[in-house]
Every structure is written in C-alpha cells, then in structure tokens.
Symmetry: C2
Subunit: 120 residues, 2 copies
Amino acid sequence: MAHSLNTDETSQLIASNKVEGTAVFDMDGERLGSITNFMVDKRSGKAEYAVMQFGGFLGVGADYYPVPWQMLSYSTDHGGYVVDLDKDMLEDAPRFADDEEPAYDNSYNQQVSTYYGVTY
Amino acid sequence: MAHSLNTDETSQLIASNKVEGTAVFDMDGERLGSITNFMVDKRSGKAEYAVMQFGGFLGVGADYYPVPWQMLSYSTDHGGYVVDLDKDMLEDAPRFADDEEPAYDNSYNQQVSTYYGVTY
C-alpha cells in the first residue's frame, strides 16, 4: 500500500503521496488551502497541474482548482508550496466539482493557461 | 481527501494518486509489480524515481526499488508502465526496506543511475 511507506521528503525530492495534502500559501504566507493531487504527463513524468482545494477560503470548499504547476514555488520555510494567487484571482478561476472532472484536452489547457497568463 | 476525487486519467495526463498502484510490466507484457509512489523534484515537478514493489516476484516482496522514471514507458495497451527489467537485473538492484529510506542524495542518485546505466 502506498501509504505504508515512510519515505516522504529529502532536500530535493518529495514523495508523490506527500505532495497530496501539502499546504499552499499565498505570497504573504497565509494558508490558502492544500494540494489534493496533481496531474502528471504519463510519459515525461512532468507535473502539469496541481489540483488544489481552498476549503472555506472562497466559500466553495468542494471545488477543485487545477493550477499550472509552474506557478508553484516550494518553500522550505513553510514546508509547502507558495502561489501568487488571491481571492480576486480565484473568484473566476477554472474549477470543477467532484463529478465534473475536465478532460485536460488542448482546449482546456488553453483556457487555464490563458486565465493565469502562463504558457502551457 | 485525495482519494475522493475521481479525476484520474486522460489521454496525456494521469493523476498522481492513480500512478500510485499502477501496474508495471516487463517487455514481454508479464506483470512485474506495481508503483508504490514516486519521487518528484519539489521545484520542477519532474518525477525522478518510480518506487516499485515486486511482490513475490523475487521473494522479497517487502522491499522498495527506486527505478529512474526515464526507464518507464507508458503503455495504453496494458494500462500501465513497461520497463526493460527482469529478475537478473533486479537481483542486485538498489532497494530499501520500509524503515531504511534512502536520502536520495547525489551519491545515491549516482549509485542508482550507474546500476541501471542511465543518466540522472
């Protein structure tokens, strides 16, 4: 079982099942939420999206927000990820409910990257 | 909770928590074992190691084998990963027990990549 393994974090690497649940902070160090899981390119092994939840923060705790991985910085101080996001930015951000998972096709990737102003 | 989310796989992406548990096959399509979890570079988001278990296959089911991610190919036919590994190659392969997780430092990375003949 994945979660019986204690290996979780070194200075450079972190276990996939530890990323799941890792806290996410804003630029002021306020806790925004946490990473539910992340979407990995099957072949290259590159994380493309962190799927985040912002429980309570926006009053829409049940929704999932796919955020381009490149927007995340890892902070050893916080022991978590930092993103340059705030409530205003998240208000209209791409999100989905539990039973409405996106296809992550070209059109969706384009929509998300355009919203955040990053290159997919 | 990570595992309440149903999003798991599209043509290009796969959810981190679905990779955990994904089967691994040899070049003949025989099931070798499965991926326990994977070690990700905290900053780049790149998977560096798939940590595999080969339950029963080598009679050392409890051990974990960190295999460089670049050795994995994803097979849509199998719905899992294929690696060019066999019993002989795994007999002396780097492995660890539950309470002996490696530091994944430069020396360890070198040891693993040298063993498998890949570049870290």
